[in-house]
């Protein structure tokens, strides 16, 4: 329906044209009379038009006051059918959970941050009505809403809105939107959106009873070009009683997509393995220092990771309370703090407990196990036993598609972060004075002491360094795991496994060990399942240690005995 102001303009134009032609011939009175009549007609239309529309929108909105999913579904269709310019705002509000109703007055409102709008007119309502209930959705309706919104915004001038609209209608494959899709396809200039729209059209045709056989065969080709799991889903969905030419084309398309996806799945396993390996490396790298370099069996290593995660939580809480704008930087702020806190706790443990137990591995094991229980219970009393929420900054949320695999940002950043930590640690041990002294003390304590190195201080600092690195591992792990007092327990055995497998006292060994275990695990998992894959890895390590007790890269000579 054309908008009334447009109609008015149209009448004026006609009148003006009529005037130009007729004025000269007719008397002024006749002309005035004509003008009056036209204005009356236009005014009548002006009054009648919005009224007619309002009624249909009004009737559509009434469905939302029933608090029943079936009624809401009818409401969505009716709002779309009303053709009102308010429709997309209303459906958007419904999708965001901002559409509310007053059950007594049977009125529908749109809630915004600051005010409450009348859904029908879009005007703010003052005073804002209270006791509003939100119009509820379930998954079936959410799909209907997405499809409706897609249909309404396909012609939007905003490219991002059109893109998400195209994706939504592709997912819904609703036959009703076919005309809209075809109209949008004819107008669309953006190549990416055009492809999605063409695929949407193909997907709708495939499911439609009216499409002809050649149309369907063509549609199969268009869908097959996508080559992903969505394409597979649509092609698999073609009913068995479709024309043989169509099913044949679909079968061969399915086969080629599956072959392609099988190849990608190997790449995907490799990536997942790399990602798991980097998590293992991150958890183990601190231990590679305390256990690998110093020879201290530190059962409280996992708790250092946990402390790092809780520091992240505390930092995020502060940011939420005082400066929410900084949230995306919360991890960067948490990193140095987590390092410091964990390192201090580590130094404290070393100075008060471990230094009295050097050379007595069993006692160290028992004592640090006890410390780990104490730390866990302390955190439990301080922060409570339940999980705490550590949010993902926006740059760590979501995923992107790379060929046939989905890469999530949080995993990607953890891989990058692990590499950075590894390189930094390697550099520190190789190029700084502290690194030199650490290496000297671990290689030959007596000699280093006689050279004037304060070995006790180096012991404490090395232990602090290992603990601090565990702390920053906690910052990263808080992004993918629970932040609970038990966080560390899940990583301690893995960490020991990696260090022992890679070779005690060798950072490169830890790197290779972590990646080998991660990748082997992920290649086994699709075939053996998560439980058996772990058992298999474990058996493998037991056998491996039998053969090479010092791990993959054993340090030769005096180094380990020091």
């Amino acid at each position: 329906m054309p908008p009334p102001d447009f109609l008015l303009r149209y009448f004026r134009k006609v009148l003006a044209g009529a005037c130009a032609m007729i004025c000269t011939r007719l008397t002024l009175t006749r002309w005035l009379f004509g003008l009056l009549a036209a204005y009356v007609a236009a005014a009548a239309l002006l009054i009648a038009m919005p009224h007619a529309r309002a009624q249909s929108l009004d009737a559509a909105l009434a469905h939302f006051t029933e608090d029943s999913f079936d009624d809401t579904d009818q409401g969505i269709q009716a709002v779309v059918a009303s053709g009102s310019p308010r429709a997309s705002a209303i459906i958007q509000a419904l999708s965001d959970g901002r559409l509310a109703y007053d059950g007594d007055k049977k009125k529908i409102y749109i809630k915004t941050d600051a005010q409450v709008l009348d859904a029908e007119t879009g005007q703010p309502v003052t005073p804002a009505p209270d006791n509003l209930d939100t119009v509820r959705l379930n998954n079936r309706l959410r799909q209907a809403v997405a499809a409706a919104l897609g249909g309404l915004t396909l012609m939007s001038p905003d490219r991002a809105a059109r893109l998400s609209a195209a994706q939504a209608v592709f997912k819904s494959r609703d036959e009703k939107v076919l005309p809209v899709v075809e109209a949008a396809l004819a107008k669309e200039a953006d190549a990416g959106i055009k492809t999605i729209l063409a695929q949407t059209r193909a997907a709708i045709l495939l499911g439609s009873d009216e499409a002809t056989e050649p149309q369907k065969v063509e549609a199969v080709a268009a869908i097959a070009a996508r080559g992903d799991q969505d394409a597979l889903r649509i092609l698999n969905d073609i009913s068995a009683d479709a024309p043989p030419a169509v099913t044949k084309a679909a079968q061969s398309a399915i086969k080629s997509i599956q072959n392609q996806l099988a190849l990608w799945s190997a790449v995907q396993n490799a990536w997942y393995g790399l990602s798991l390996g980097s998590v293992l490396l991150l958890a183990a790298i601190g231990l590679a220092i305390t256990f690998g370099v110093m020879g201290v069996i530190n059962m409280a290593h996992g708790e250092m990771v946990m402390i790092g995660a809780y520091v992240t939580f505390a930092v995020q809480e502060m940011i939420r309370a005082y400066n929410p704008g900084l949230f995306d930087y919360s991890l960067a702020i948490a990193l140095p703090l987590a390092f410091l806190v964990s390192a201090l706790v580590g130094i404290l443990i070393e100075r008060t407990v471990i230094r009295f137990l050097y050379g007595r591995p069993l006692e160290t094991l028992l004592a640090t196990w006890g410390i780990s229980l104490i730390l866990q219970q302390a955190v439990r009393s301080l922060f409570g036993p339940t999980n705490r929420e550590v949010g993902n900054p926006s740059w760590m949320s979501g995923a992107f598609e790379l060929g046939g695999i989905t890469i999530t940002y949080n995993r990607l950043w953890i891989v990058v972060f692990t590499i950075a930590v590894f390189v930094a640690l390697l550099g520190m041990l190789r190029f700084t004075r502290l690194g030199l002294e650490v290496r000297a003390v671990t290689q030959n304590r007596a000699m280093a002491a006689s050279m004037g190195i304060r070995t006790a201080r180096i012991d404490a600092l090395t232990f602090g360094l290992g603990s601090g690195i565990a702390g920053i591992a906690g910052v990263a792990l808080s992004q993918i795991d629970n932040v609970s007092p038990n966080l560390g327990q899940g990583y301690i055995i893995d960490s020991f496994m990696v260090v022992v497998f890679g070779g005690v006292g060798n950072l490169w060994g830890t790197l290779v060990g972590a990646l080998t275990l991660g990748i082997a695990n992920k290649f086994l998992e699709p075939y053996a399942g998560a439980v058996l894959a772990k058992i298999a890895i474990l058996v493998f390590i037991i056998l491996f240690i039998q053969k090479k007790p010092r791990g993959m890269f054993a340090l030769k000579g005096r180094a380990v005995e020091a």
Binding site: R136, L137, N138, N139, R140, R142, Q143, A146, Q229, D230, L232, R233, I234, L235, N236, D237, Q268, N269, Y272, V279, W369, Q376, Q377, R380, G384, P385, T386, N387, R388, E389, G391, N392, S397, A399, I405, T406, T408, Y409, N410, R411, I480, D481, N482, V483, S484, P485, N486, Q489, G490, I492, I493, D494, M497, L517, E525, G529, A530, V531, K534, I537
Partner: protein, 440 residues
């Protein structure tokens, strides 16, 4: 990874340390026991440390609150109630030791406790031998009915089966293909066995069911989530039925959200995820995923509002959530109080005899009844996760559902019946007509 080694290797050591704390707790409770002669003692057997502390601490708190409220109402049989709290530290054998200590040393009249099925199985012989009462508040796999145990959580027919029915319905999305994902232990394995038999009875084909188990505390869900995606691309509407336990849920849902698996594509319905578990998550990407319970905090009625209010006041924390097992304790405690009043005694034999038939209001607007098989009647709700971490009820059962101890969908179990009133038997075989029929 490899977390099972830790328990295996550190078990004896852990137990020794636990033993020390146990001794301390024991001497403390002995002191308090001597001072109060004229009280009725209520044992609380929930882990306050270790992996299960995350879920069980809340139940200890709610019991303390209920006992406190009962005392304010004047106690029971003219005596005050006294809570005896012990910490079995998420250590299954320690549960049995602690149960024995509660019953024989502290002389408690009733015990409220346990969460995992393995902890319940570990204390069963103790309750049988010493003839006491256990109220067990958590949804479980069924296939059990003991004279000394009262099951106030859901049996599979009060949670799992209605949830699957909902997903098969039009509103649930007419799901045709199923992923049964669970943590590798007794509850998920038995529940999935029941569900698999149920789905097949409903005409779902073998190739449309995928079963997947993961270890406790599994944190790397990349492979499994992408497997689910792949499984869902077969053209039929797919859903995931999750019996994934506590701690592993957060990384699972995080991975779901990050890989962009939306509830409108593949909904996940969970049986172990409540308000408490969601507290550690940003739930905005998870809106629409489902959970099936017999109680949700968001259910509006005066009894629930009052309960939530007193819970927040009792814990002095306006952010504390309530959940389903808490309601189960609420019902169980009130049933026990009523039964004691009816029997005019706290003696276990009399209370056990008085309990079946007792009715008390639940928090969702109905009245739950203790049945002869020691399970209760409850309503079933399916809720969708909201952006604020609460649930929105999208389906509820018509009326209350009676808990069924022995599933009708497992061979061997379907012939069994539990009836402690007339048959005096927890596993009566209807075919062989004798007590003691074994489930396969």
């Amino acid at each position: 990874m490899f977390s099972f080694i830790r328990t295996a290797a550190s078990g004896p050591l852990a137990r020794r340390l636990m033993g020390a704390t146990a001794g301390l707790a024991l001497s403390l409770s002995a002191i308090s026991g001597a001072s109060a002669q004229d009280t009725i003692k209520v044992g609380i057997l929930h882990s306050l440390s270790g992996t299960m502390a995350i879920s069980e601490t809340t139940l200890k708190d709610v019991m303390l609150m209920l006992i406190d409220e009962q005392n304010k109402k004047g106690g029971l049989l003219g005596k005050k109630l006294e809570a005896v709290v012990v910490d079995p530290a998420s250590n299954w054998p320690l549960f049995a030791e602690k149960a024995r200590e509660l019953i024989s040393k502290d002389k408690v009249s009733v015990v409220f406790g346990c969460w995992t099925s393995v902890s319940r199985k570990s204390v069963l012989p103790v309750f049988k031998e010493l003839d006491s009462i256990l109220f067990y508040p958590v949804q479980y796999e069924g296939e059990e009915s003991e004279r000394n145990v009262f099951y106030t959580g859901a049996a599979p027919n009060q949670q799992a089966i209605p949830a699957v029915d909902y997903l098969m319905s039009k509103d649930g999305g007419s799901v045709k293909r199923w992923v049964l994902a669970g943590t590798d232990y007794v509850y998920p394995r038995t529940t999935n066995k029941i569900l698999e038999a149920y789905l097949k009875a409903k005409g779902v084909k073998e190739e449309d069911i995928m079963i997947n188990y993961t270890p406790f505390g599994h944190s790397d869900w990349q492979t499994i989530v992408s497997d689910i995606k792949k499984f869902g691309s077969a053209g039929k509407k797919t859903a995931v039925v999750s019996t994934i336990n506590g701690d592993a849920n957060v990384p699972f849902y995080k991975e779901l959200a990050n890989q962009g698996l939306k509830a409108t594509d593949i909904p996940v319905v969970a049986f172990s995820v409540g308000e408490e578990e969601l507290a550690g998550l940003d739930t905005k990407p998870l809106v629409g995923h489902l959970a099936a319970w017999n109680y949700f905090e968001s259910i509006k009625n005066p009894a629930n509002a009052a309960f939530i209010k007193s819970w927040k006041e009792f814990t002095k924390n306006p952010k504390r959530t309530t959940n389903d097992p808490m309601e189960a304790h609420y019902i169980g405690f009130n049933m026990w109080v009523k039964a004691v009043e009816k029997a005019k005694s706290v003696e276990p034999d009399k209370v056990i005899a008085a309990l079946p038939g007792i009715e008390t209001p639940n928090l969702t607007g109905g009245t739950s009844k203790m049945l002869a098989n020691h399970h209760i009647t409850k309503p079933v709700f399916v809720g969708e996760i909201r952006g604020d971490g609460q649930f929105d009820v999208v389906w509820k059962s018509k009326g209350l559902v009676s808990g069924d101890a022995w599933s009708d969908f497992l061979p061997g179990s379907k012939d069994l019946e539990a009836d402690w009133v007339t048959l005096k038997c927890g596993n009566y075989n209807k075919v062989a007509k004798k007590c003691g029929g074994q489930a396969s």
